[in-house]
């Protein structure tokens, strides 16, 4: 893209139906959001390889191959996600190919809650983790800032931030916001019903 195009804010020609992309840090409510969007009427691109477990009793909604986005050069398979919704964690957004239009729902959640939930998940997976929570918190803050900067620069991205806590508290408001963002054809009632507040387990007020 030329500097002139960039400066004038001119958007490139549309590249088929946009890919709805649910993103964010792991444990920030991305699976809940996938379930909401699916309930709203958008088909999910997933492969079912990662099955539900104690950390995600209602499923992960993942497509294994995207976990390799950093290393893989042929990313043309993502075109299959046009008109569908797919989950890609925010760390991999930088590796998205430019030949699609993206509507990105960027999930945000209190970082202490995210870290508490991630640490529990690591234990469940018997993974050793030597990282320091304070250092990780800073790293995640910087990562989020870099995603926001990227989002403004990429002409083929439209991004909206959604707070997990707000969605659990008021799913109807989030459903309405998302419906407007995604074209106004979603079933908001079903989206609201897809939110299970019982799964909001690592709450800041209950953390040590």
């Amino acid at each position: 893209m030329s500097l002139l195009t960039d400066l004038l804010g001119m958007k490139p020609a549309p590249q088929g139906e946009p890919i709805v992309l649910v993103s964010g840090l792991p444990r920030s409510g991305t699976s809940m959001m996938m379930k909401m969007i699916e309930a709203g009427g958008i088909k999910v691109m997933e492969d079912g390889v990662r099955t539900p477990d104690i950390d995600n009793p209602k499923g992960y909604y993942e497509y294994e191959r995207v976990k390799n986005l950093e290393k893989e050069t042929d990313k043309s398979y993502l075109r299959e996600a046009r008109g569908k919704v797919i989950k890609i964690i925010s760390f991999l957004l930088k590796d998205l190919p430019p030949d699609n239009d993206y509507r990105i729902i960027f999930m945000r959640r209190d970082l202490d809650e995210v870290l508490a939930s991630q640490n529990k998940m690591l234990k469940h997976r018997n993974e050793t983790d030597t990282s320091d929570d304070n250092a990780m918190r800073e790293a995640y803050l910087n990562h989020i800032a870099s995603v926001r900067i990227m989002s403004r620069k990429r002409q083929n991205w439209q991004t909206i931030e959604v707070r997990y806590e707000d969605t659990v508290k008021n799913p109807a408001a989030t459903a309405a916001t998302l419906n407007a963002f995604l074209g106004g054809k979603l079933n908001e009632k079903s989206m609201v019903a897809a939110v299970d507040a019982e799964l909001y387990r690592n709450r800041k007020d209950k953390l040590k």
């Binding site: 804010g9 760390f91 991630q118 997976r125 990780m136």
Partner: protein, 67 residues
């Protein structure tokens, strides 16, 4: 499409503001606030104790979110 968080007011010189408004318009930002926020976020990355991607990468691998 940002702006979900709470905001505060920051004072800057009028002349500087006027110049920023002009550039924000030419560069295609929706508002001068959005333009200034981007500049500040970008600058902060230089000054904050930026931990390498390695920390995040290791954590995400452990969680099974990247290969």
């Amino acid at each position: 499409m940002f702006g979900f968080g709470k905001t505060v007011n920051v004072k800057i010189e009028k002349d500087l503001h006027a110049r920023l408004v002009k550039i924000a318009d030419v560069a295609g930002y929706a508002t001068v606030d959005e333009f200034i926020t981007q500049i500040l976020e970008k600058e902060m990355l230089h000054f904050e104790d930026v931990k390498g991607d390695g920390d995040i990468r290791n954590k995400l691998k452990g969680l099974g979110y990247i290969s």
